[in-house]
């Protein structure tokens, strides 16, 4: 497709389980971002990938969160041992290279941890 896609669109899990969220960026976009959006909050930066460079993980809230990007395209965000406070919308965005490039967002994955 022409836009950023994310899967699943919704995920309900039990506390303590691991979850994997997937992001397919726009073809040709070298930069990929993950954000978390909680109700009433702004977008919280989690992690940034740029080409083959080491990712900027400065936004990850704990070591239960990790992400990888294979082949410079698809990215997976993994949350281990989920907690109820992890419930949020997880948004992925991609952009062309460059600090001022516009970010294009996917529809998000709505995660609910029971």
């Amino acid at each position: 497709g022409a836009g950023v896609s994310q899967s699943p669109s919704n995920k309900v899990t039990e506390k303590g389980k691991d979850v994997e969220l997937r992001c397919d960026p726009i073809s040709g976009h070298t930069a990929l971002y993950w954000y978390r959006q909680s109700l009433g909050q702004g977008l919280e930066f989690l992690i940034y990938f740029q080409g083959n460079s080491a990712p900027d993980k400065s936004g990850l809230p704990s070591d239960r969160f990790s992400a990888e990007r294979t082949g410079g395209s698809v990215s997976t965000l993994t949350i281990q041992r989920t907690q109820q406070e992890d419930s949020a919308v997880y948004l992925c965005a991609s952009s062309l290279a460059g600090a001022q490039e516009t970010q294009y967002f996917g529809p998000g994955t709505r995660l609910l941890v029971l």
Partner: protein, 109 residues
């Protein structure tokens, strides 16, 4: 730490009314973006402003960047139900982009 404060947090108006939402910071930004996010979707970029004092118009939406590049406003003329959504401002760019918490607008028919 750079912060963007948006006001009001929530706004409910009748179709046809005008409204203005604000995005303020104590920091200077090289550029500022406005996004609209509809339920179940990701944010969609509406406009980017880069020059202090700049005014951009997008149909019934007017965006202004403050002279000092610390604040911005979005004015909607004759609001329509289709304008309903979460309006986010964001400053900077790339992975250093800072997002405000948003103004949730509901336009009643």
């Amino acid at each position: 730490t750079q912060l963007l404060e948006q006001s009001p947090q929530f706004l409910s108006i009748q179709e046809g009314e005008n409204l203005t939402v604000y995005c303020n910071s104590s920091s200077v930004f090289s550029s500022l973006q406005w996004y609209r996010q509809e339920p179940g979707e990701g944010p969609v970029l509406l406009v980017t402003v880069v020059t202090g004092g700049e005014v951009k118009k997008l149909k019934r939406l007017t965006f202004q960047f403050g002279d000092a590049r610390k604040d911005s406003s979005l004015h909607i003329t004759a609001a329509q139900p289709g304008d309903t959504g979460l309006y986010l401002c964001a400053g900077g760019g790339g992975f250093k982009t800072i997002f405000g918490a948003g103004t949730r607008l509901f336009v009643k028919a």
